[in-house]
Structure formats: C-alpha cells, structure tokens
Amino acid sequence: MAKYLAKRIFYLLLTLFIVITVTFFMMKLLPGTPLTNQAKLSPQEQHLILKQYGLTKPVWQQYLLYVVGIFHGNFGTSFQFSDQPVSYLISSRIGPSLLLGAQAMIIGVLPGILFGALGAINKNTWIDSGTTIISILGISIPSFVLAVLLQYYVGLKLGWFPIADWGGFSYTVLPTLALAASPFADTARFIRTEMVDVLNSDYIELATAKGMSKWGVIYHHALRNSLIPVVTIIGPLAVNIMTGSMVIENIFSVPGIGEQFVKSILTNDYPTIMAVTIVYSVMLMVVLLLTDIVYGIIDPRIRLTGNSN
C-alpha cells in the first residue's frame, strides 16, 4: 500500500510538473502583455511595467522563477487586476466553486443511484423506460441551457430562488441543480447497467432460492455490489462538474474560479489562466487518487499493487 501510494504520488507530481511546463510555454507563445495602452507609453515606461511583472528576463529564468514561485504559493500577478496577486484571486474564489461542486456531486449522485436502481429492478417496464428517458434528457440537454431555463422559470417567474449573485444557501440552489443534472444522469445510467448485471449473477439466484425476500436481496446483495463501481466514475463526474462550473458560475454570477477562468480567457490574463489550469488539474488528480484508494479499500477484490489493472 505504502509503495503504491508513493508511486502514485510520484506520478501525480510528475504530471503536475508537466502541466506547469506545458501551460507556461503555451502562454509564452501567445501575444499580449500587461500593458493596456501601449501606444501612449514611452519605451522606458513600458520597460518599467514589464520589469514589474518579471517579463524582461530571459524565458528560461522566468520559467524557473515561476516553478519555484508555485511551490511557495506564488502564481504571479494578474494582468487584469493591477497589483492583484493571482494566488489571492484564486484563494478568495475557490470556496464557492468547491461548495457548488460538492453540492452538485451529492445532489446528482444520490438520486442517480436511486433512479438507476429503480430502472434495473423494474427492467423493461414503464418505470425503466421513464428513468431511462429522464437520464437521456439529463445527458443530452447542455447544462448551460438548463441553467438559463432554471434561472428564468424557477428564479424569475416563480421567484423561488435568487436568480444570480452569491449569498446564503438559497443562492446556491439553482446553480447546484444545473450542475447536478449531468452527474445525476450519468450515475443513473451507470447504476442501471451495473445492477442489471448483478441481478443476473449466481449469488442473487442463490439468495432468492434460500428464501430471502425480494427487497432483502436487492438491498443486501444487488445494491451493495453495484454501488462499488460507482466510485470509479466519480473522477469523470468531477470533470463534468468542473467543465459545467465555468459556464454555470458565469450565468449565475457566482464568484468562483470557473467564472474567473472565463473572464481571464476573454481578457488574455495569462497568469490567471495558468494558475486556474494548475488548480483544476490538481483537483482532478487528487480526486482520481482518492477514488482509486477508496476503491481498493471498499472492494477487497481489487489489489492496489503495481499492476496497471
């Protein structure tokens, strides 16, 4: 276990290093400077501003400084907001994003499990068709369309929840729902397939044959065994939520890092783009590592050894 962990963490750091390097040099390929009014500035003034951002040094020195800086929690200075360190921008904005993401994950996965199980138990009946239709809709309707519809009909027309901005819990309801649709549908489909498989297996037949009640079989054997693989899709679901959060946060004006990312892209704020890229990658890598470890713990059939399987 310790060996496995050490290996995984080594790969995690290697990946992180590659991500940092690639994003750094990609950003260097792009035109654009922190100067907003280049034509009006004298060369000396331009030089001074560039020097302030550390852009006058050779690229390799900038790179080394950047890497060293990251390990000290320094992501440079934002081009967009003058004198604002990027690390501050991110640390002040990551809270809402994490909260929304966690809520969406819970709101999506738990009902998804219920729906998928219902579909599998009542296979080839109208309940199955109903849950399948709902999950196909959830997968197919883009989250940003759903967000606008929720915002207008539930937020504005019905007036149940605030339509934008960030405050207490009620402000998180609509963005969470919009974000949760895709994990919900994915989980429901996944559980249905898993459970149909499990329900066909020998141990279910044995449990039924020894006289266990239908719901006893479903709860003790079928559901539990189909739940284990759900852990493996948490990673992909997290990616979905991160992707969704960029546009959902924008629609609902949530001060999160997704909204910041889109803003930075549109204003060519390279230090912020780089930092958010790194933060997103770290979050995904940690989720993937955690799910692998949890999977090994809850399913003794899986051995956490060096094997790539």
């Binding site: 790969y11 990946t15 990609m26 197919s140 892209i265 990658s281």
Partner: protein
Amino acid sequence: MADQIKLPADSFEPVDKSAHLDSEKIAAPNLTFLQDAWRRLRKNKSAVIAMTILILFFLAAFGSAIISPHNPNAVNPQFANLPPKWPGVDINGLNGTLNQAGSRVNAYAQAHAGSHVYWLGTDYLGRDLLSRILYGTRISLTVAVIATAVDLLFGVTFGLFSGWQGGRIDNFMQRLIEIIMSIPQLVVVVLLILVLKPGMMSITIAIAFSSWTTMARLIRAQTLELKEQEYVLAARTLGESSVKIAFKHLLPNLSSIIIIQTMFTIPSAIFFEAFLSYIGIGISSPQASLGTLLNDGQKNFQFLPYQMWYPAIVLSVIMIAFNVFADGLRDAFDPQTKE
C-alpha cells in the same frame, strides 16, 4: 416359418430423400456481423426513430444552402427581433405577434414587414433565425464529425499500437494517457484554442486532440485480449506481418467498439463546440453555430424567448438522438448487455 410373407420388390416405395435432407438445411441466408447488428437495430424502435431524426437533421443542415429561405448573414436592422410567423397559423407565438405591455402587438405590421415571412423570427440584427439555425447546425455537425474522425484515427492507432506492443512501450504510452487524462479536457481545449486562435479549424483540432484518450484506452484493452486469440497466433505462425494482422484480424473484431464509441464521441464534440461558442471563444461571427446562437438568444431570453428556445431545442434534439442511437447501436452490436 411356413407362412413366410413374400413381398415382391415393387411393393416397396423409395422414400423421398430430399425431404429428409432439408431438415438440416438453414433456410435463412447467412448474416454477416453488420447485417446481424442491423437486424437487431431495426427492431429497436427508439433507435430507428433517432436514426431517422439524425438523417433528417444532416440532410437539412448540409442542404442548408438550398433550403434555407434567407441569407443567414444578411443584416436587416429594420426587421430586427421579429417573432416567428407561420403563414396561415393563428396561435400566439407563431403568428408574428409579440407581447408588449400586456397586449399582443403585430410586430410585422410595426416593422412594415408585412409580406416578409420569418418562420422562426429574426435576431437582433434582423437575420433570419431559421436560416441561421440551419447553417449553424451544419457548422456544429461539421466540427463534431471531423473532430471525431481525427480522434478515431489517432485513438485507434495509439490503442492498437500500445496494446499490440505490450511491455515497456505499452507502459510508457499508458502513463502518457494517464497524464493527459488528469488534466480536465476543457482546460486543454481552451489552452489549445488560445494558442491556435479561435475559429472552426482550431476548435476541431482542440476537440480531437483532447478526446482521443478514451478511444485509445478502450482499443488497447480489447487489443490485449484479442492478441492472445488463437487466430492471431495462427496468423503469426503463418508469417503475417503485424500491420496485416492489425488490419485483417484485429480491426474487424474491434469494429463494434469503434462504432459505438464514435457514436458517443460525436455528441460530446457537439456539446464542446456549443460550450466554447457559448462562452465566446468558439466560432466567431458572422458565422453561426448552435452555441453562438444560444449565446445571442440568451441575452434577450426574458423578452424574446424564441431566440434561445429554437437553437436550444435543435441542439438538445440532436444530442438526444445521437445518445439514443448510440444506445441502440450498443445493444445491437453487443446483445449480451441487453439481456
């Protein structure tokens, strides 16, 4: 033994052998793998409906130059924001009237556009929404199909090579995929688009570049299994080259996975294109894609909801149809999962 029965030879009649032989005969023609899958697919009603819808959308989108009633980029400021009008239909929402201050007003009369017909209305620059949706669907579908084709080519080659080689090379290639997969796909796409400059071409490349890993993994896992099969061993013993084995033995056996995965990749590519255009780094005007139309429509949603509803419906229907069709294909190619 005295009363032996004497039977003359002609009291026997030869049995018609042909009837007997036929009992073993297989009446139905031999079905190839694809024919068999097609037979199963045809039985799946929802998949057939989805396929029909997709064919219609493809025809409409790629025939947009012929069937679209107006020039999608022609700006007519005097006819801006006209609601949908269906000739001869008098239902609110389709008769060219708008809800203004509590009463319905004929927007066409107000704009002196009496004889003009805009089936789905016009946008804020007076461009015909129906034509824009048709052209937009074409761009969305083109981007998705080309991106998927590139993804397919690259993913299948990578997966085949990795699985076939095994050992160190495989290990290295798998680590590479793991690294790529631990960066959120959208972030990769965004970075690539920033470097390549927004446009149709760079979106296609970015989507293809970031989505091939799933295909590569599936193909590699299957190749690892297939290469242990006896027919592969036989082919190797007979001295077939690796390339020939890949094309003649592995690819046909991988085809169902490839087709199913492709069908799931296309809707996700459509989604990505729409997503990028929606946040403003995708297709740039005056070109339209479903994403840019949604973005334009969303700004006026409160007052002119049709400008967002129609592109949203088209996008959702295409996505639903692709997903249902892909589900149907999966069941058709792999009947075990359905049982």
